[in-house]
Structures are given as C-alpha cells and as structure tokens.
Symmetry: C2
Subunit: 251 residues, 2 copies
C-alpha cells in the first residue's frame, strides 16, 4: 500500500515522526510536509510564490520531502510530482491539538486531507490529538495505526476525508469510536490589545474553545467524553435547503 | 444600515473601491481589508503573529482600516474591535476573477464572508467578477448594488453566506440570476518546473479551470452561460450520508 504522510506542524514535528513509525507497518510511506509550521493556514495554497522541495532527514535513515508551502500545497505537489502513483492512503498529522467544530475550517491538518479527497485519493485522513501539552504521540500513533488498519477494509461511499480526533488518554481509557457531525457552535474569542516597544498598538487573537452543553453526537462532544471522533467531511459547501428558499431571487 | 466591506485583493484594490461607491448608497460603510493581496489564502487566520491595524486613505476623503492579516482576520477584528455593533451586511469583494467550484475552498474572498456568517452577521456576501483582465468594476458594482438591495428584503433561513459570481458582461447582456450549487469537479492543474538563476529547481502551480460539460445548476455552469450565480454556502462540512455508512466503525 502506498501512503502519503503530511501535516501542518512541519516535517520535523514529533506527531509526524510517531505516526510514521506506525504507518510503515501498513505500507510504503512517503513523507511530504511543510518545512515550517503552518498551523491555522486553512486551505491556503501558493499561487503568487513558487514552491521549493528539499530532501530532509527525519533520523534513523528516514528521508522526507520538505516543501516551502502549505499543507494543501504539499498534497498537490506530492500527487503531481513526487509520488509514482496515486497513494491508497493520505494521512495528515498527528496534529498537536484537536481540530473540531469551527476550527476545522482553519485547520491546515484537515485541509491537507480535504485536498487529497478532492484529488481522488482512495482514503484521506486527518489525525489530531486532544492536548496542547505533554502529548503522548507514541500512544496516539498506536491507536491511530489500529484504526487505520480497520479503515482499510471499509469502502467510502463518497469523496470525503475523515477528520479523526484522538483523546489524550491512555489506550485503555479511551471509551471507543464515535461517528460524529462537526460542531457548529461559535468559538469564544477575543483580541488581546498590546503595546509594542515603540508604543504602537497591536492585536493578538486569543480565546478558548470551552463550550458547554456539547452534543454527544458532535466531534467536540464525543472527544470531550473520551471517545475517538470520526467525522466525514466533504468539499461541497452548498447549503441545499437555502437553494429553495432563495429561488425567488431568480425572478 | 451598518455595512462592513472587505476583500482579499487588498484595501487598495479597484474592485473594493467600486463596490464602496455603491454600498454607500445602501448604508454606512466601514472598510476593513488586508493591507496587501491575500488571494488563495483560504480560511487562514493569524495565530502565531499579531495583527496591526492602520488607517488608510482610499481617496476622496474616504478612510478604511488596513489589517496586516488575512480576509478572515479582517472580519474577526472588525466585528470584535473596530465596529460599534454587529453589521447588518458584510460584503467581500469585488474579487478580480471568479470564485466557483473547488476554488471556493481556496478563496480568501469567500472565507471572509463565511467568517461573517459564522460570527452571526445577518447577511454575508462574497462578490467576484468572472474575468482576470480589463475588469469593468463600475458595471459589476452597479449590478451588485441592485442585487444587494433586493437581498435586503430576503430573510435567510440558515447561517449561510452567499457566494455571488458576476459575469463580465455589459449589464444588458446578463441573462438573469441563478441559484446554484457549488461545482465539485476537479481542477485541471499541473506544476511548472523551473530553474532559478542559481540552477536550483523550483515548482509553480499552474493550471486552468476549463471544465467541459458544466451542469447549468452549478455556480460555474450558470456563470459561463451568462447568469449571475448565487450559491448559499455553509460551514458545517459534515457529509451526513457517510455517517451512516461508516457507523460500523463504532463497533
């Protein structure tokens, strides 16, 4: 099985290294990832600037391709130029921090997997771990590896990517797997106002994702309850019910 | 009526200036836009770097706020810090070039409108003109102004943004308005391989969006046929049919 591994935390991120060790047991893995951190770049692609591709040592005799672009760029150039054939599986992650709810739209991790689904990869998966500190990527990667093995036998009925979020728990404490919808509740955000050394004002986006009353059938709700959350995401953003209600504008 | 005007081509783009002249006839317009071009940034937001906000003269005594960030950043900071109240209408554009099909995912123009819908703006609209050369933004803005007037009386039944693409035609030659779905066909892309002055290889994404057999009920199809295309877009990316087919993974 041909596997493409990418991420948005950059090619030297520990979440990618841990996942590589599991994926190599499933097939032949090619790493094509951003040369630097690309968090929250969403589905950005590079049009105004070219891409550089450099060979990068990942240690232990493993080599990957470091790309001077975004996660979506990495998938595009990997499939167009770097891989001999369309991979069976494209995996993005493991991201440091969850990608649930509205944050899915900002996520470079998820966008890489979405791009792979758009381009026709058989399976496209984004993997994120629900913690920002002291991540145990070895455990997360082991859990992810088992899940990806199960996914192999599972055909998809549509060109979706699977957005998988893993609880930051010991393997035995994970309660199971939940198929979930994306939570659409707004984030709790604000801007810090700060003053620079030259006394000019600047702003920094701050905020937390601490919604209450999380529905258990959402990505966020399932993750908080200790389940692995799997959300199938597609790239047709049309809101079909509104098509009918707005039809009057055609008159 | 309070109106927020933004874009992804940058605050000094002629498409924004033309639209401003029309919007001022509909209400009080505040311009908050990127200080430089931000095309194809998708739904990127700035987390690792702060935002600067500078007053910028748009000529004719008009002032706006230039933000050192992405279109989504502009909407976030406008609503959180720069506007006295939630605007009734948020408009992003007029973009130089169409935003239809898969390109919707890469579009900064659309992402600004999506962000406004997420944050609860009553109406959020992205406007794009179907040409890359010799754009007649004055005509496009006049057509857009009339459409936005009609939209005012049209309640939305869900938190969607309206992705509006305008034909690059004289007003009398536009065939009408079509409510459309997003085309999901793949783009025709490739990477140019080039060699820099120091003889290093680099890649540049090239490609065209020239699909045949365009369905007339899609954004791209309607636009090519000479209609104004309006596509309601939402930010719940869940592919609900796949939830059922993958439920076996919960076992």
């Amino acid at each position: 099985m041909q596997i493409l591994l990418t991420n948005d935390d950059g090619i030297f991120a520990p979440g990618l290294a841990a996942l590589y060790q599991e994926l190599r047991q499933l097939g032949e893995v090619t790493v094509v990832a951003p040369e630097s951190e690309q968090s929250a770049v969403g589905h950005a692609i590079s049009l105004s600037s070219p891409l550089r591709v450099k060979k990068a040592s990942l240690g232990g005799g493993v080599w990957g391709w470091a790309v001077s672009g975004t996660p979506a760029d990495c998938v595009k150039i990997a499939l167009a130029e770097l891989l001999p054939e369309m991979p069976h599986l494209v995996v993005s992650g493991i991201n440091l921090g969850p990608n649930v709810g509205i944050n899915v739209l900002y996520s470079g991790t998820v966008s890489a997997a979405t791009e792979a689904a758009i381009l026709g990869a058989e399976k496209a998966v984004a993997l994120s771990l629900n913690t920002y500190k002291d991540p145990d990527f070895a455990t997360a990667a082991r859990v992810a590896g088992k899940l990806l093995s199960r996914l192999q036998g599972q055909p998809l009925s549509a060109p979706v990517c699977l957005n998988i979020n893993l609880p930051a728990l010991p393997e035995g404490e994970i309660k199971g797997v939940r198929l979930t919808r994306q939570d659409t509740g707004p984030l709790v955000e604000h801007f810090d106002r700060r003053v620079d050394p030259r006394e000019h004002l600047y702003y920094w986006l701050a905020g937390i994702n601490d919604r209450r009353d999380l529905a258990p059938d959402t990505d966020y709700g399932a993750l908080q309850a200790g389940y692995i959350s799997i959300t199938p995401l597609h790239h047709d953003l049309t809101h079909y019910p509104s098509l009918r209600s707005l039809q009057v504008l055609e008159k």
